[in-house]
């Protein structure tokens, strides 16, 4: 479970203490962002796809109640049992009731951020059910008793040496063997035993189709498929925003998802579940847990378009340099920084400030959510609700005063450009700027405004001269 008392600046500072690992984290994730760009460039219709995805989702949200009712009716026609959960507790209770009624001892789970959000694993474990996360990254963090640090790459914060040590202890692999292929195949053998002996399988949902009443789950590992085709019971947990109207619309979303998420043209398995396996049963739990409230908020409802690809995290300069664990909400990065405060501003308010407003998240988002704009609005809300630490609040008030008085702002700049270069280093060493291991930047001779004015003047002079020459 996630610790929601985390404050971003402190947690990020902690992460940055190991400079080498922080640098590796940054470059590993940036590499995924570059792969995403390469994929996007291969399709001439990429921007059109984003537009279509955005419009399909916007339309669906505007008639969400109708589509959910249609989905339910069609799922029931397929023989699927549909449940509704108002919050995390109700979701966990429903899942437990299904499992308890059938004496389930072991549940194999495929990756689902929703069950992380609901805290399902500890709930079931306290009631005597063994829960095995089967996505390799999820399995690794489960064995470490951690939450995922990324929604698509749950163990991206770990080096292979740490995983080798963990597997040696938990799975009996060779000590010191850090080969990713060796480690992956050891986990494969171990998890296969779990798949073959589980009594039930639980998956998340990437897309739910109103027209056909089925759900789509995308994985590269095939864990969702083994977990649902072997045990007799399949439970699919879905957030109510996962609906799309028709089967044909999947042709837009399945083209965007993996390309945006991991820079791959598609996931290995894109599986369409409409019925239980023969002799089995299938349940779908539709979960609200605060989503219908966000839907009613004009500034923030767009975040419900999210298809959970993680592209915003991979491009975010703050996420890459502070890791998923520095965010208090279960979903980190830009999308989590708007969903978290929408849920609970008191708990997650600091997340919205972990943003440089560079706008890169909005530029890569496959459904075009205005992420950086939402984060700015959340900051305003946090300020208005008086939830900022005193120092930060005073700083913002001072900045507001300064920007409202341009002459004072100019003067301040002028003084800084003169004074900063002559301050002895011993005085600045402990400033917020220098503590992170940075030197103070060299001060420019002129302010931006002065440079701009001079440039405009030069241009005008040049034009005047040209005009004069032409007249002569």
């Amino acid at each position: 479970m996630k610790d929601d008392s985390v404050k971003h600046p402190q947690a990020a500072a902690e992460f940055l203490k190991d400079r080498a690992q922080a640098k590796w984290h940054d470059s590993a994730i940036w590499w995924v962002r570059q792969k995403r760009d390469a994929q996007a460039k291969q399709l001439p219709e990429w921007e059109e796809l984003r537009r279509l995805a955005r419009e399909i989702k916007a339309h669906t949200l505007s008639q969400l109640d109708d589509y959910l009712a249609q989905f339910e009716a069609n799922a029931q026609k397929n023989g699927v049992t549909v449940h509704w959960a108002a919050d995390a507790d109700e979701h966990n209770r429903i899942v437990h009731d299904i499992l308890a009624a059938r004496q389930v001892k072991k549940l194999v789970k495929s990756k689902s951020m929703l069950t992380e959000e609901c805290g399902l694993n500890p709930y079931l474990e306290q009631r005597g059910i063994e829960v095995v996360d089967t996505d390799l990254g999820e399995r690794i963090v489960q064995l470490r008793h951690e939450a995922p640090s990324h929604i698509v790459m749950p163990a991206i914060h770990l080096k292979k040496e740490q995983i080798s040590e963990l597997f040696h202890k938990e799975l009996g692999t060779e000590a010191g063997n850090n080969d990713p292929t060796y480690l992956t195949h050891a986990a494969r053998a171990n998890l296969r035993e779990h798949f073959l002996t589980a009594d039930a399988g639980l998956t998340g949902v990437n897309f739910a189709i109103a027209e056909t009443g089925g759900v789509v789950v995308c994985t590269n590992e095939g864990n969702a498929d083994l977990g649902t085709s072997l045990p007799p019971i399949h439970i699919a947990s879905m957030g109510l925003e996962k609906i799309i109207p028709k089967l044909e619309h999947l042709g837009v979303f399945t083209r965007l998802l993996a390309r945006s998420a991991i820079g791959s043209p598609v996931t290995t398995y894109t599986s369409h579940f409409h019925q239980a396996r023969p002799g089995g049963e299938m349940h779908i739990v539709i979960v609200d847990n605060g989503r219908s409230d966000i839907l009613g908020n004009e500034d923030f409802y767009q975040s419900l378009r999210c298809i959970r690809c993680g592209a915003c995290m991979n491009t975010c300069p703050v996420y890459r340099r502070s890791s998923g664990f520095s965010y208090s909400y279960i979903i980190p990065g830009p999308i989590g920084s708007t969903l978290g405060p929408s849920r609970d501003m008191k708990k997650h308010g600091s997340m919205a400030f972990a943003c440089s407003t560079c706008g890169s998240c909005s530029n890569v988002c496959p459904v075009k959510i205005n992420l950086h704009e939402q984060l700015v609005l959340h900051r305003k809300k946090a300020f208005d609700q008086n939830l900022l630490p005193t120092g930060k609040k005073m700083g913002l008030l001072a900045m507001r005063f300064l920007t409202q008085h341009p002459a004072l702002f100019d003067l301040g700049g002028k003084v800084m450009r003169k004074v900063v270069p002559i301050i002895p280093e011993s005085l600045t060493r402990h400033s917020a700027w220098s503590r992170a291991g940075r030197d103070l930047p060299p001060m420019p001779a002129q302010s931006f405004k002065e440079q701009y004015q001079q440039r405009s003047q030069n241009k005008k002079d040049k034009q005047d001269k040209k005009d004069k020459e032409e007249q002569q």
């Binding site: 109640d65 189709i209 290995t268 369409h272 839907l295």
Partner: protein, 188 residues
């Protein structure tokens, strides 16, 4: 009021402004001059391979040549193949040869969907997966693929692309996570 009705009522009350559903068919999507070439090049990067059956050659010949020491082999493309009534019974299959209904050039996926879902687990339990696809059942993009699929037909279907893979350990790509370690698509 039931949870269902109260959720739906709150959504109805909070509905954002109505917007129209876009026409996804109005936009031109990518076309491939040589779809097989595009498919074959891509699937090699995804831990698979694609070949076209030569005249006089059989699927079994191609598979035997590729994996001469194969263990338990199940061929669902021939009449009278073995059947089981428990999905776990496929746990030691080494090579599964299964029919694929459709191939997609843009992402090297093959659509599989079988009238008997007792076979569902074999796609994922087998060590090596052979997908047999008619030569003319190839489309350019996923949009074209969904236009040809009837979901109501079998209740389960999947697009499969290459072998099972993961990059969860330090971003190193490893083939063979939970599903098949190798995939071969044979166009017939």
């Amino acid at each position: 009021m039931s949870t269902r009705d109260s959720i739906l009522a709150r959504i109805r009350q909070n509905r954002p402004q109505a917007t129209a559903l876009p026409d996804i068919h109005a936009v031109p999507f990518i076309r491939y001059d040589n779809p097989f070439e595009a498919f074959a090049t891509l699937i090699r990067n995804l831990g698979g391979d694609a070949v076209q059956l030569a005249a006089g050659q059989s699927v079994a010949d191609v598979v035997a040549a590729r994996w001469p020491d194969a263990g338990r082999t199940v061929d669902l493309t021939v009449a009278g193949h073995e059947e089981v009534d428990d999905p776990h019974a496929w746990h030691d299959v080494d090579v599964a040869i299964v029919p694929g209904q459709l191939a997609v050039a843009e992402n090297a996926t093959v659509w599989v969907s079988h009238p008997d879902n007792h076979f569902r687990s074999i796609y994922f339990l087998t060590q090596k997966l052979v997908l047999v696809v008619p030569r003319d059942a190839m489309v350019d993009t996923m949009r074209d693929a969904y236009a040809r699929i009837d979901m109501a037909e079998h209740g389960f279907g999947a697009f499969i692309s290459g072998s099972s893979r993961t990059a969860d350990i330090e971003q190193s790509l490893v083939m063979g996570a939970h599903g098949a370690m190798a995939a071969l698509v044979i166009f017939v």
